[in-house]
Every structure is written in structure tokens, then in C-alpha cells.
């Protein structure tokens, strides 16, 4: 990132603030899916949810340099909060998303206090401990969460009072896409704002940023909380679309999957979240239908090869190609 000359660094940095052809292509892909892929809309909705989730991790990991093996803590918190809200308070979906975001953000705020004091391995372990703690809590609190059986039986009213959730998942997909676009626009704004830029500075050189007078801890804390809230939105969305929240939303595999997705797609670019979610969800759905065991082996091998030969993921590879063409 910082090996080329100054001009080569600055120019793409400004370019990143604008929307470009990749955004158009992704939007077009969503439209095409909606029109032609009516049998795959349920799957596409999963892609959308996971893309939001991966975006949230990209904010923390790719921009803030906070390594997390427990991002499912926020996803699951958002999912359970939204489901409980729908069950006990109101079936209205948009306020449900906000409830999910606030709940997960609160968990992020609280756990960030512990997690952000450390770095590296201990940080990974702490995020893992937080997620496992919440998993066990949900498992133990059966009267509230229904434990292993999963929380279901809640209703979600039409979006804005107009769009009823249908059996084909049309409303779910469009609703999810709108949320995804909003989250993406927010993140694009955020990572190019002063807080996003200082976060990248902190990622690259924490000591130097401290010397420059940046309140390192507070910046990371804000960033982590926002990341948690967005993961909560993803979880809430998943709860509303699937009408069930299980313990798996808090499980280690959920955290591991999103890390894998981001690695496949590429970190620190936002696009990586899209590519990773699309590749991972579609492939795992197809492969799991055919042969779940060997899919796991294939995924493992792909992971090893990606780290070895394309450490910046698909988005990084595309960006490099783009740069080469520009020259």
C-alpha cells in the first residue's frame, strides 16, 4: 500500500471516495438477480445479509486493524434483539433493524473497552471469548431465547406498511438490498472521513498517530462500535428475513465464516465484502447441496492457496489489474 510513490498513493485515495464502475456492476448484478433469478432470491438474500456482515468486519479489521474472531457476537445480538423486539414489542421491521443495531452497538461499546486495550493474539482471544460467552448465555437463557430450538414464531409486518414479505423472497431481497446500499454508502462516507482516515493511520502505525495527537483509543472505540452496530443490522435483517434465530448466529463458525469471506474478497476495500459474500455463500450453497464434506476440504485448500498466492483477495487482485491497465 505504501510502497509506491506519493502520487500513486494519493490519486487512488481520492478515487476511492467516488462511486465507480464496480458499484454499477454490483447494482446491475442485483437487478439482474431480481428479474431473472426468481428461484435464487432466497439465496441472494443470504448473500446480501452476509455482505453487510462482512462490510462490518471490514470496517473493524480492514480499516481499524482490529482482528476479530468473534464478530458473530454482534450479528447474533442484533438477530436476537430484532427477533425479541418483533415478538414482544412491535412487528415493524425498520425499527427492528434499529433495535438490532443499538443492541449490537451496545455490546460493541462494552466489549470494545476490553478488546481494544490489547492487540494481536490476545485481542483475537478476547473477541472469541466475548462471542463464546454470548453463545453460552443464549444457550443457558432458554426461557428467553429458546436455546437449541431457536427463537421463532414472531411476525414481521410489511416494510413501510406497503411491502408484504412474500413467499418468493422478493420483498426480502429488495429490502435487504436497500439496507445494503445504505450501509455501503454510510461506510464509504465513513472510511473517507477524518475518523476513517485516522483509523487507517492507526492500523499502519499506532505510535506515530499517537504522536500526531490522535486519540487512538477513542477513535478505535467509535469505529468498533459502529462496526458492531452494522453487524447487528445484518443479524436483525437475517432474523426478519428467515423468521428464525438460532444459536448458530452466535457460533464460532459464523465468526470464522465471515473472516474467511473477507479474506476471499480482500480486506480494507469494502468491495471485498461483496465479492467474498457472493463467492462464499453461492459456492457453499451449491457445494453443500452436492457434497458438504468435500466442500469443506475444498474451502480449506482454497483458503491456503489464497493466503499464499493472493493475500489481498479478489478485490485486491482486481485493483492491481486496474492499476496495471491505467499505466
Amino acid at each position: 500500500m505504501n510502497k509506491s510513490s506519493d502520487l500513486n498513493v494519493i490519486a487512488p485515495a481520492f478515487g476511492r471516495q467516488r462511486y465507480n464502475w464496480t458499484d454499477v456492476g454490483l447494482l446491475a448484478a442485483a437487478v439482474v438477480t431480481f428479474i431473472f433469478g426468481e428461484y435464487y432470491l432466497a439465496l441472494a438474500a443470504v448473500v446480501v445479509v452476509m455482505a453487510i456482515f462482512a462490510l462490518s468486519l471490514d470496517l473493524a479489521q480492514g480499516y481499524g486493524g482490529v482482528e476479530s474472531l468473534g464478530h458473530a457476537a454482534f450479528f447474533g445480538t442484533g438477530a436476537y434483539a430484532a427477533a425479541l423486539y418483533a415478538l414482544h414489542v412491535s412487528p415493524e421491521p425498520i425499527s427492528g433493524l434499529l433495535v438490532g443495531a443499538v443492541a449490537a452497538g451496545a455490546v460493541g461499546l462494552l466489549s470494545g473497552f476490553a478488546v481494544l486495550r490489547t492487540r494481536g493474539l490476545t485481542q483475537l482471544m478476547l473477541t472469541l471469548a466475548v462471542a463464546t460467552l454470548l453463545f453460552e448465555l443464549a444457550n443457558v437463557a432458554k426461557p428467553i431465547t429458546n436455546g437449541d430450538d431457536g427463537l421463532s414464531g414472531y411476525d414481521v409486518s410489511p416494510v413501510l406498511g406497503l411491502f408484504q414479505f412474500d413467499i418468493f423472497g422478493r420483498t426480502a431481497f429488495v429490502y435487504g438490498c436497500v439496507v445494503l446500499v445504505l450501509v455501503y454508502a454510510l461506510l464509504k462516507k465513513l472510511v473517507n472521513s477524518s475518523i476513517g482516515l485516522t483509523a487507517q493511520g492507526i492500523r499502519e502505525n499506532q505510535v506515530r498517530m499517537r504522536m500526531l495527537g490522535v486519540p487512538v483509543e477513542r477513535r478505535l472505540w467509535v469505529l468498533y462500535t459502529i462496526s458492531a452496530a452494522i453487524a447487528g443490522v445484518a443479524g436483525a435483517l437475517s432474523a426478519q428475513i428467515n423468521r428464525i434465530v438460532g444459536l448458530d448466529s452466535l457460533a464460532f463458525m459464523m465468526s470464522a465464516n465471515v473472516v474467511v469471506m473477507l479474506a476471499l474478497g480482500g480486506t480494507g476495500r469494502l468491495y471485498g465484502a461483496f465479492f467474498g459474500a457472493i463467492i462464499f455463500v453461492v459456492l457453499s450453497d451449491r457445494a453443500a447441496a452436492v457434497d458438504p464434506t468435500n466442500w469443506l476440504a475444498a474451502l480449506g485448500i482454497v483458503l491456503i492457496l489464497i493466503v499464499r498466492y493472493a493475500p489481498e483477495g479478489v478485490a485486491g487482485w482486481l485493483a492491481k489489474r486496474g492499476q496495471r491497465r491505467a499505466k
Partner: protein
């Protein structure tokens, strides 16, 4: 209350033997993570592999439990040495996140291979007659198996300590840990020392996995399922500290066993709550390595 007391004692023995098994499984990881600075999420898979090797040696090889155990461990060590010399060379070259992804990828592969060979069901290694039954001492009774695990782990931990403190290899390893560059300068083959250490760590994990199947039963997802537990033992103990791993494994084993018995409603929750508390109080673990 003699009954309450004997229950408590039984639970304590169970907890200590569980903790010692956790120590066996996780001690290798604290070395790879703390000393070789490699995030190795495949470590728990080696425990699984050791367990399956032993299971197959008994099942298909027709060997006795006590003969299969060391052979299973030796086979796992050989495999780990092979992997360390090949695939792990890529892992060493990556950044921490890359290491994490690569090694979790390896765990996926190991899981898939085991599932293809052994099937998805949960299995445990049948104990020989010698290890079944109870040891009774008045009202206090404890299973022979738990005592066996306890004694074996204590013996192994003792041997490990003696090996580190009093052998040339131990001295080389300590030198390589404290200052790899200097160690290289005085003619110690540091990569070789680390390779051997890695294999020993995997062998200990294999031993723990094989003798512990009554506590952590074998299944293809073993490597992923108990990974969190193993990582927690390492993190709580302080990465890179053998003593710390011992303390934390014992502590967590006891807390878990007592907690599950006395407060069953909370189940596995207590252990994670204590982990969070410990890590909050001591972010670098119980025994933090200096420097």
C-alpha cells in the same frame, strides 16, 4: 457432611484430570504461538488425529490400548513433522491473519478427510478392563480412568519439565526462544529445534486427544469444536508460558467441573465468564512472558 465432602473430592479429582488433559492438548500450542509466533489453529486437529490413529490401531490393527497409544502419538508426530517441513513453511511466511486463515483452512481439510474415512459419528476409544471401574476409599470414590489420565499427564508434564531444564535439547530450545539470532550465531540450528518442538507439541496434543476421548469424544468436527477451549487455555495462561498453561488448564478444568455440578443451570457458561474476568484483570494471561 461426609457425603458432600466426598462428592467435592471426587469432583476435584475429575476436574484436575480434565485440566491435565487440557494441558496436554494445549501445551504445544502455547509454544508455537508464544515462541515461534505462529497462530496455529490446526493444533486441536492434531489431538483429533492422534485420537483417530489410536482408535484405528486398536480397531483395525488389533493392538492393545497401551501399545496403540504410543504408536498413535508417534504417527501423529511424524505427520506433524512432515507438515511442518512443507505446508507450515508457507504459514511462517504469512502475517498473523494469513496464518490464522491458512491454519483454519488446514483444520477444514483435516476435518473433511477424517469425516470421509471415519464417518460423522461420535466415537470414543474403548478402555481396557484395567482402566474401568472405580477406586473406592470409604465414601470417597473416583474412576480409575480419571486417575490414570491424571497420573499420566503429571508424568508427561514432569518429563517435559525435566527435558527443558536438564537436557542439551532443552537448553538449545530455551536459547532459541530467548534470542533466536544469538542462538543461531552460536551454532544452534534454530529451525530444526523448532521443528522438533513443534512435533513434540503435536505429539502431546495427540496423547491428550487419545487418552481424553472419554471426556472430549472423537468426531470429525473435534478440531473446530474444541479449538476455542484450547485457545482459551493458552490465552488465559499467557501465550508462550508452559507454567501458565498448566495453571490455566487446571483452573479451567476445575471451574468447569465444579460449575457444571454445583450450578448446572449455568452449564458451560461459568468457564467463559471466568475467562473474560481473568483476561480483563490480566490481559496478558496468568503468567505473562517478559519481553
Amino acid at each position: 457432611m461426609p457425603n458432600a465432602l466426598s462428592t467435592f473430592l471426587t469432583l476435584t479429582v475429575d476436574g484436575v484430570s480434565y485440566g491435565m488433559m487440557l494441558f496436554l492438548i494445549s501445551v504445544g500450542l502455547t509454544i508455537t504461538m508464544g515462541v515461534m509466533r505462529v497462530v496455529n489453529l490446526t493444533h486441536s486437529a492434531f489431538a483429533m488425529i492422534g485420537g483417530y490413529f489410536t482408535l484405528w490401531l486398536i480397531g483395525f490393527g488389533g493392538l492393545h490400548y497401551f501399545a496403540a497409544l504410543p504408536l498413535g502419538v508417534a504417527a501423529t508426530m511424524l505427520l506433524s513433522l512432515l507438515l511442518e517441513r512443507t505446508l507450515y513453511q508457507w504459514v511462517y511466511k504469512s502475517d498473523p491473519l494469513g496464518q490464522l486463515l491458512m491454519t483454519i483452512g488446514m483444520t477444514f481439510v483435516a476435518t473433511a478427510i477424517v469425516k470421509n474415512i471415519a464417518g460423522p459419528q461420535i466415537q470414543s476409544i474403548a478402555l481396557p478392563g484395567l482402566l474401568t471401574g472405580q477406586l473406592a476409599l470409604g465414601a470417597f470414590s473416583v474412576s480409575v480412568y480419571r486417575v490414570f489420565v491424571l497420573l499420566l499427564s503429571v508424568a508427561v508434564a514432569g518429563a517435559l519439565w525435566l527435558c527443558l531444564e536438564y537436557t542439551t535439547f532443552g537448553a538449545r530450545l530455551r536459547a532459541a526462544v530467548d534470542n533466536p539470532r544469538m542462538a543461531r550465531c552460536v551454532g544452534i540450528n534454530v529451525p530444526m529445534v523448532f521443528s522438533i518442538t513443534f512435533a513434540i507439541g503435536c505429539g502431546l496434543a495427540a496423547l491428550g486427544g487419545a487418552v481424553g476421548t472419554q471426556m472430549l469424544p472423537l468426531e470429525p468436527y473435534y478440531g473446530l469444536k474444541y479449538l476455542v477451549l484450547v485457545l482459551i487455555v493458552v490465552a488465559v495462561g499467557g501465550v508462550g508460558s508452559l507454567k501458565g498453561s498448566l495453571y490455566s488448564a487446571l483452573l479451567l478444568g476445575l471451574i468447569d467441573t465444579w460449575g457444571r455440578y454445583y450450578i448446572p443451570a449455568l452449564g458451560g457458561f461459568i468457564i467463559y465468564l471466568s475467562v473474560l474476568a481473568i483476561l480483563l484483570a490480566r490481559p496478558r494471561g496468568l503468567v505473562a512472558r517478559v519481553g
